[in-house]
């Protein structure tokens, strides 16, 4: 469903990604593990279509080349990125933002929000302004479900979450898998995979895939960290 080939990403003249190859299939959970500064977030933004990055190589989504498409065009094709740090949008409240960017009925939005534990009072507040890390991530998951994409990329979904929120992430990942979506989880830590195991693991170091394999790689990471691949 989604194939990255020889992806090179350059930001302000610096090569951040140096030829990435990876693949995500329908119903598959794929982990991309990497230490700080390995290019994880750049990978996520390259796939989403950040116009500040200059990209080379190939991004095939449903057999279609999407490398030159803008972020909104990619979103419409069915790619969703949950941001590592969803930005604060001053002056635009959550309710208005969702009602203009999402097709679903308002009842559905409210029902799902409740299920995810998003407090009602947040709807009248400016999007993400003063929201906790957990609140922001839940709102990302809400959108990931409502936009019904084919590929969901979660960039550090587990950072800054409390235990309750991690449970929400677990059931979210399960749901995505059940719905046959391709899920790419970009993270630093293995703890997010305690309940839900990935089908495939890639290790990203210095802008390159330094290794790949099954979930067994996770225990190796737990024992030795990223040293092994450096």
């Amino acid at each position: 469903m989604f194939k990255v080939e020889n992806l090179v990403a350059i930001a302000d003249g610096n090569h951040i990604l140096n030829g990435i190859n990876l693949q995500v299939n329908e119903g598959e959970i794929v982990a991309v593990m990497g230490p700080n500064g390995s290019g994880k977030s750049t990978l996520a933004k390259s796939i989403m279509g950040d116009s500040r990055l200059s990209l080379r190589g190939s991004l095939k989504f449903d057999n279609e080349e999407i490398l030159t498409l803008s972020a909104d065009e990619r979103a419409k094709k069915g790619i969703f990125l949950s941001f590592q740090a969803p930005p604060e949008i001053e002056g635009i409240n959550l309710e208005y933002f969702l009602s203009t960017s999402i097709d679903a009925s308002w009842d559905e939005v409210l029902k799902l929000s409740k299920k995810l534990g998003i407090k009602e009072e947040l709807f009248k507040k400016d999007l993400n302004v003063g929201f906790s890390g957990g609140e922001r991530k839940k709102i990302e998951m809400l959108q990931a479900i409502l936009r019904n994409p084919k590929l969901v990329i979660l960039d550090e979904i587990d950072s800054g979450l409390d235990i309750d929120s991690i449970k929400v992430v677990d059931s979210f990942m399960k749901k995505m898998k059940e719905q046959k979506k391709g899920v790419m989880i970009i993270t630093h830590y293995t703890r997010i995979f305690e309940k839900v195991k990935p089908d495939k693991v890639y290790v990203l170091v210095d802008g390159k895939i330094a290794g790949s394999g099954g979930p067994e790689i996770l225990s190796k990471l737990d024992q030795f960290g990223f040293k092994e691949w450096k």
Partner: protein
């Protein structure tokens, strides 16, 4: 600049209509021509004298030495006065071409019959006005300035030119000499006008100068909100809009003055606006600048007695070829007075936006409070300046000043685009969010208009 969007804006707001003029005075301006206007308008003698004094100062005073280049104004061949036709008593009697113009601008037939208080000025004259019966019952006077000079000479004489003397600046002097139209409002003691009063200014003639004059007096404990909107057709020849607006807020009153300026990109918009706030009174300017070639406008509040409050919330969006120089002036002349200036400027393309704020706290104005906040967003080649001038002569004053300047946040843009919004929609949303504090001061229908104007501005980029 995206041509399609500019054309759309021209079609919606800056369209041309039939050139009509029953009587006009064209430059170069002379004392004789000033007298001709005065005679034509049937002024009382004191007003003729007043105009001539204004003309004298207009000749003596130079154009402002600061701010944008005004050399494109050709004083020699401006049309200083033009009467489009007779004033209509009923909306149905308004000539069809004028009616069409206002209807195209979204001022609908049905609304004209329903609106509680509205005035339409076309070139030099108020062509239609309607004050609902309710207003008269409340004792509110709401009419064109011309009419008020004749019907309420005592009230007018007491304040006209007292808040902004004709010597204030070249354009105030010019306005004094050739003024025509504008609004006069008097709200009696304790009366709270329950709905906003509207005036719509339209320039239609090519090469025209519009010089309306507005005076609003709010008596003790009274309240009123006034909204003005302005547009003009886009001509290659430049036009001049030079209004004088004087506000008087007597003790305990609240006066809110809202402007949505959407002049076409050939208009020099040089306006003097000032309010006097007496004991415990509150003067609020809500000032939106979305059009014009050059704007120079710094609404001011003179805080004259204890407890007076002044507030200016302004937004300026300057796009290709535009230079918008706006801001506020707060003059504290009494103890325990407070003021707030909030300015949001957005510069796009090669547009220039400047915030020019003056805060002056006099020696005897003990325990005054003032806040100034200016935020600017700019794109690649545009320019934004913030020029705050703070003169505090009393050490008991408490001040708070904040200024921020930055580009459109690309992370926010990416975020919105990743949720399926195209770049223009995402930019519009960010800009609308940025000016939210301003938007919430507007009546509902104007908030929608604001959204449209932002979309038009964003559309060009």
């Amino acid at each position: 600049m995206d041509l399609a969007f500019l054309q759309e804006r021209e079609k919606k707001y800056w369209f041309k209509a039939k050139q009509r003029s029953a009587f006009k005075i064209t430059g170069p301006l002379t004392a004789k021509k000033v007298m001709q206007i005065s005679k034509f308008k049937g002024d009382p003698e004191w007003m003729t004298t007043f105009r001539l004094r204004g003309f004298e100062f207009f000749n003596k005073i130079d154009v402002p030495k600061f701010g944008p280049d005004l050399s494109g104004i050709n004083f020699e061949d401006i049309i200083y006065y033009s009467k489009p036709g007779e004033r209509a008593k009923e909306w149905d009697e308004v000539p069809k071409d004028i009616k069409n113009t206002f209807e195209k601008l979204g001022i609908k037939d049905s609304e004209m019959k329903m609106l509680s208080g509205v005035e339409l000025q076309y070139d030099s004259e108020v062509i239609f006005e309607k004050a609902k019966l309710g207003l008269k019952k409340l004792g509110v006077i709401y009419m064109s300035m011309d009419e008020a000079v004749k019907k309420h000479p005592d009230l007018v004489k007491k304040y006209f030119g007292k808040i902004i003397p004709s010597t204030d600046n070249k354009f105030a002097a010019l306005n004094t000499a050739v003024w025509s139209g504008g609004t006069f409002i008097y709200v009696p003691k304790g009366v709270k006008v329950p709905f906003p009063l509207h005036t719509y200014f339209r320039i239609n003639l090519e090469g025209f100068g519009q010089f309306e004059r507005t005076l609003i007096i709010v008596d003790e404990g009274a309240e009123v909100t006034y909204v003005e909107g302005c547009t003009a057709p886009l001509y290659s020849k430049s036009a001049l809009h030079s209004a004088v607006v004087e506000l008087v807020a007597l003790p305990g009153s609240h006066l809110k003055y809202i402007t949505l300026q959407n002049w076409s990109n050939n208009v020099y918009n040089l306006v003097t606006k000032r309010g006097f706030a007496y004991k415990g009174a509150f003067v609020q300017w809500v000032d939106g600048n979305f059009g014009s070639k050059v704007t120079m406008k710094y609404p001011s509040v003179y805080l004259l007695e204890p407890g007076a409050r002044g507030e200016v919330i302004s937004v300026a969006i300057s796009s290709d070829g535009q230079n918008i120089d706006s801001g506020a002036r707060m003059i504290h002349k009494a103890p325990h007075t407070s003021s707030s200036m909030v300015s949001k400027t957005i510069s796009l393309g090669d547009g220039v936006s400047t915030f020019r704020g003056t805060l002056r706290i006099y020696k005897n104005a003990k325990y005054s409070k003032a806040t100034t906040e200016c935020d600017s967003i700019l794109s690649d080649q545009s320019k934004a300046n913030a020029i705050p001038k703070i003169e505090v002569m009393d050490e008991t004053a408490s001040l708070n000043h904040e200024a921020r300047m930055g580009n459109i946040d690309r992370d926010k843009l990416l975020y919105l685009m990743s949720r399926g919004m195209d770049e223009k929609t995402a930019m519009s949303m960010l800009i609308f969010g940025f000016v939210k504090d301003f938007a919430k001061e507007l009546p509902m229908e104007y908030a929608l208009e604001l959204q449209r104007l932002i979309d038009f501005d964003m559309g060009g980029h």
